[in-house]
Symmetry: C2
Subunit: 296 residues, 2 copies
């Protein structure tokens, strides 16, 4: 029997992911604080609900995709939250990137109401969300994972069950360690080239095919060279995710000297009005430190 | 007319690169402090010379491939050095990774003797050297670059003229900023996964295809998971190259906060007897910091 699906949190990512569920033929109930995108999805065939509680009560699987840990806690455990619409068999899938220990806590509270929970943060940006090619990292009970697999396949390409509750969030944190390192390293090497009087574009072309090859060098330099620092993935979200990494490191007692530095450089973006720029625009902080500028 | 070529410095990289020149049909004169590899190459068709001066006097193009800046300075400008065998038309090509300002200084000294110089450091490791698929980053006069291009094509695949003398060394320094960042970020994310009780192998499989994708995640984790930390690219050479980056940053006045940290972590490898391990084994320092171990 086709599952009825709910989606709460229709931001840039969530709206595209909900739309892909709709396209795959699932009856879809949606809810969002801002109503404009709800009206849009209703015009495409979704049904509207007026609270997380109502969504949960009407569906077999309820997704959330929200900015940060407190938002998820509020929508699931708060007044008129998912927990108030809990029923036997309900599965909650959280596509938000939040703290692993908050994921585990919410899952355990929902468990008392008979709800199985999966943390399922994604990577791949708005492009991957639209194209249905996201990387999805999942933590939680294996039976629930298998049950929602067809739904995840409507939204992503590489879908991995990592381990128990919270393990998906840990994998996402690990992902962000590498992404942030690549972004900052690209910024530093561009500034080094420029300050020594060497053409940064020629440097990128020379090194991007060798041992320095990475997603960041493949995708970001051409945008920087034409002066485009628009997102993509916003700096304040990168900062928020690195906050999760460092908070998790504190909770579990982990020393991460490199990520401590990358976190501080993204923090410096917030302190310099660069919240809404692309995460690759951390270059701007290295330019500030060095009194130089890359691109037009 | 086929050029006669000299190669000085037949280490792991140099020997393979010299061999590829020989295979491409160039008359080759070789010199090396340790004689074993010289005898080997002579048995394959090379001729032996007994000083850098002698090599230079007998060839049209002389290559060097030496560990560090003082070695190159000694072999080129020291007693019985290349400069003493200088003659009209001679081109010196340095495949060593050394400080850009030393490259420029030596090139300028050789220029007084009528020799044109190219700095042409490489990336791609012993595997790329054997296969002739190296990335070669070249600085120096364009006419000399074009003249030696067929020789470089016998040794590498991606060959880029970056700019004036020293620009090849700057590109290599930029390359090492990114390589070091990837190595350390991989170490940090493996340790974070392990300490939170999540399977590091599952994390790598989940994230390596997304925005975290890089040469390091493609090539290194499987070796670490089977307990293989042998080089590859030795930690003390990575440390030496990062020393060049930070020294260049000091000379030109560049602030590189991330690379300052990666440099210190590779320095910690030397302080813990890890000189001869692979650069990916910087993981070992993060294990030390965190009292944990990844792999068998």
């Amino acid at each position: 029997m086709t599952k009825t699906v709910g989606y709460i949190g229709l931001g840039l990512m969530g709206a595209s992911m909900a739309r892909n569920l709709l396209k795959a033929g699932y009856p879809l109930v949606v809810h969002n604080r801002s109503r404009e995108i709800v009206r849009q999805l209703v015009s495409e065939g979704a049904q509207e609900a007026f609270s997380p509680k109502e969504v949960a009560s009407r569906v077999d699987v309820v997704f959330t995709n929200l900015p940060d840990s407190p938002d998820v806690e509020q929508v699931v455990l708060g007044p008129n939250g998912i927990i108030e619409g809990a029923h036997q068999g309900l599965i909650w899938v959280d596509n938000s990137t939040i703290k692993p220990e908050i994921s585990r806590y919410i899952a355990s509270e929902l468990g008392k109401a008979g709800v199985r929970s999966l943390d399922a943060p994604v990577s791949g940006g708005d492009i991957g969300a639209r194209a249905g090619t996201l990387t999805i990292m999942v933590g939680g009970p294996e039976d629930a994972f298998e049950e929602v697999m067809p739904l995840l396949q409507a939204m992503g390409k590489t879908i991995t069950h990592i381990g128990e509750s919270g393990a998906g969030q840990v994998a996402k944190a690990c992902n962000q360690i590498m992404v942030a390192a690549q972004m900052v390293a690209m910024g530093e090497l561009l500034v080094l080239a420029a300050k020594t009087g060497v053409d940064p574009q020629k440097v990128i072309n020379a090194i991007k095919g060798g041992a320095a090859q990475c997603w960041t060098l493949d995708n970001k330099p051409q945008r920087i060279f034409r002066g485009d620092r628009s997102p993509g993935f916003k700096a304040y979200m990168q900062r928020k995710d690195l906050g999760i990494v460092m908070d998790t490191a504190r909770v579990y007692g982990v020393s991460l000297p490199l990520t401590a530095v990358t976190t501080q450089l993204f923090e410096a973006m917030l302190q310099n009005g660069m919240h809404d720029l692309d995460n690759s625009a951390v270059l701007g902080i290295l330019e500030l430190l060095n009194g130089t500028h890359i691109g037009p």
